[in-house]
């Protein structure tokens, strides 16, 4: 410990506080400073949302303002029409399907695997656990090329299998997070159930799983929004526009060489952030706790 133990020193008698150290003054200073900084941070997002309501001529002339002079909601239907005869309804349906099924797969698998690591003692447990943590550091690039070759041979390009199948084993992040959570559940409960004649599977289903709700909600939120934003893997496997996720569609839609209707691009960009923000605002507490207790990256 680099800090010195100061407790033995005598208490210093302080002179009366000068005006600039008074609580009210400091409070105003604090809120002024932090609120300004927060506003600067939020400005680009607010600007995006505001711009999505600006009429075409205002987008380049009234740039710095967040609010449009004349609101122009027409950008939304214009953008929703999509491209190549495929509307954003299709892209949202694809994204919703993938994010929901993908989340379901990886979170439920993660819970099962986490229970195995946290509560069952078996040969090689420590080794596999260490390997699992190591996989967190693997660059996707070393796995993705051979995966692609195999999935291509299987004729699975332009299907969701290559995106969903690797999720059957859960995600190392969520497994780790749920393990941490299970460790905080008292073992007495398991023991009581075991004395009552329950086996490991019964303990998992009836004792542990019901208590895992907060951890599972946290994992599900993260999984949903990572899947929603996923780009590289869908980019490689989904090449036909009717399978595009919102992320892929936005990229094509905003291609500077093709599209010039910036109002529509801003509208669809802002709209794509909506699900993520709704989840963020409704489950903020879970997210913050998930990140702070396990060091998950967001």
């Amino acid at each position: 410990m680099a800090a010195v133990d100061y407790s033995a020193r005598p208490v210093v008698v302080r002179p009366p506080t000068p005006w600039h150290q008074h609580a009210v003054f400091r409070s105003i200073l604090y809120h002024g400073l932090v609120a300004t900084a927060a506003l600067i941070m939020l400005y680009p997002i607010l600007w995006l949302v505001g711009s999505s309501f600006k009429p075409p001529d205002e987008i380049w002339t009234n740039q710095t303002a967040i609010l449009p002079i004349e609101p122009y909601p027409q950008n939304y239907p214009n953008g929703w029409a999509g491209f190549g005869g495929i509307s954003f309804a299709t892209f949202y349906r694809n994204s919703l399907f993938y994010a929901t099924l993908g989340t379901l797969l990886s979170v439920s698998a993660s819970a099962v695997v986490a229970y195995g690591f946290a509560r069952v003692r078996f040969r090689g447990r420590r080794l596999w656990f260490a390997i699992m943590l190591l996989t967190l550091m693997l660059p996707t690039q070393v796995q993705i090329i051979p995966q692609y070759i195999v999935f291509k041979q299987l004729g699975w390009l332009n299907t969701f299998y290559p995106l969903l199948l690797p999720r059957i084993g859960g995600s190392a992040f969520f497994i780790f997070m749920i393990i941490q959570f299970i460790r905080s559940i008292p073992v007495d409960l398991d023991e009581a159930a075991m004395i009552d004649g329950a086996n490991k599977i019964g303990i998992f289903l009836r004792v542990i799983l019901p208590q895992l709700t907060p951890a599972i909600i946290t994992a599900a939120i993260f999984s949903f929004y990572w899947t929603w934003d996923e780009f590289l893997v869908p980019l490689i496997y989904l090449n036909s526009p009717e399978l595009y996720l919102v992320s892929l569609a936005l990229r094509t839609f905003s291609d500077p060489s093709g599209q010039t209707d910036w109002g529509a691009i801003f509208a669809m960009s802002a709209l794509s952030l909506l699900p993520v923000f709704v989840i963020f605002i409704s489950f903020q507490r879970y997210l913050v706790e998930g990140i702070s207790t396990t060091g998950l990256k967001g």
């Binding site: 690591f117 660059p139 070759i149 041979q153 084993g169 023991e191 919102v246 963020f280």
Partner: protein, 310 residues
């Protein structure tokens, strides 16, 4: 009698849960996925890196170390991509961590409204990886974009941010620095764990705010700094989406980040052998760097107890 009963009960946890079959049953899904989608692909990737495999013809010949020779001695773009990645990591990671720690310290208070501020500072990170933000960033730094428009109002003529080799990478570094939410939350949790009495006694002794930061906050936070540094280094080396959308690696390959170049070689030029070799070098570099940071940690990371970080 009652006492011996409870004692007997207490002893149970020692062999509680010893069960190989059930254990492997539970971790089975992960194990299967690990072999199928991680271990075998990595091994195959190593083999591919010694071939000139082309996915279109599904054929390739063993060419020894040619891929590596080409990478290190012949491919000028490869050198530029390494340069761009290093520059990005060297600036983006420390910037992000400094912002994260600074804001976390500002928010480490019980004042009213802190929850709202925390959400506001975290918001850019929640949308961070999305295409929408990348598209927005491209517009903000465009020739007639928000930044230049604002500079114009101040009478300054802004540069062509995305078109000039000196400035393009900075738009991506700023984008990374803007998204400091996750390390901020982790720092915040760490700050809350520092015992208050340390600060109180330091204050009584007359230590000023800067001294308290240097002598208490920083040493107590080193495990968290260590953890954040590792995580941010790894994700810094793997940055892809932002460069893919905002700058497309341009101009003059100054933003051709490593992951982007691997993608181009593998999936645009179909040179999967060469791309595998590049991916393996990336794996080795990340492993080496992580190991170095871990080794260095005994010199600067201070652990109060035996517990690890986070």
């Amino acid at each position: 009698m009652a006492a011996t009963l409870t004692k007997a009960k207490r002893r149970k946890p020692s062999n509680f849960g010893q069960d190989n079959l059930v254990g492997y049953l539970f971790i089975g899904p992960w194990l299967a996925a690990f072999f199928l989608f991680t271990l075998i692909p990595i091994a195959v990737s190593l083999v591919l890196s010694f071939t000139d495999y082309n996915v279109l013809s599904n054929s390739g010949d063993f060419i020894g170390l040619d891929n590596f020779q080409r990478m290190f001695f012949e491919d000028r773009r490869y050198a530029r991509s390494v340069n761009a990645t290093l520059k990005y990591v060297v600036f983006a990671v420390p910037l992000r961590l400094v912002f994260a720690l600074g804001v976390a310290m500002l928010l480490n208070t019980w004042r009213r409204g802190v929850g709202v501020y925390r959400a506001a500072f975290y918001a850019p990170s929640i949308v961070g990886g999305s295409i929408a933000v990348a598209v927005m960033w491209r517009e903000i730094f465009g020739n007639d974009g928000l930044v230049n428009f604002t500079l114009n109002l101040l009478g300054i003529e802004g540069p062509n941010w995305l078109g000039r080799p000196e400035t393009a990478i900075w738009t991506l570094i700023i984008l990374a620095a803007w998204q400091f939410g996750s390390p901020m939350l982790i720092f915040l949790a760490g700050l809350k764990n520092i015992p208050r009495h340390l600060y109180e006694s330091a204050e009584i002794d007359g230590a000023n705010a800067f001294q308290r930061f240097l002598r208490i906050t920083l040493p107590m936070l080193t495990p968290i700094i260590f953890f954040n540094l590792i995580m941010q280094l790894i994700s810094g080396f793997m940055v892809f989406t932002q460069a893919f959308i905002v700058t497309q690696g341009k101009p003059l390959d100054t933003t051709l980040f490593y992951a982007l170049y691997v993608y181009r070689r593998a999936f645009e030029l179909n040179e999967m052998g060469y791309a595998s070799a590049m991916a393996w070098v990336m794996l080795m570099v990340i492993a080496l760097l992580t190991a170095l940071v871990f080794r260095s940690s005994s010199y600067w990371v201070h652990y109060e107890s035996d517990e690890g970080p986070a």
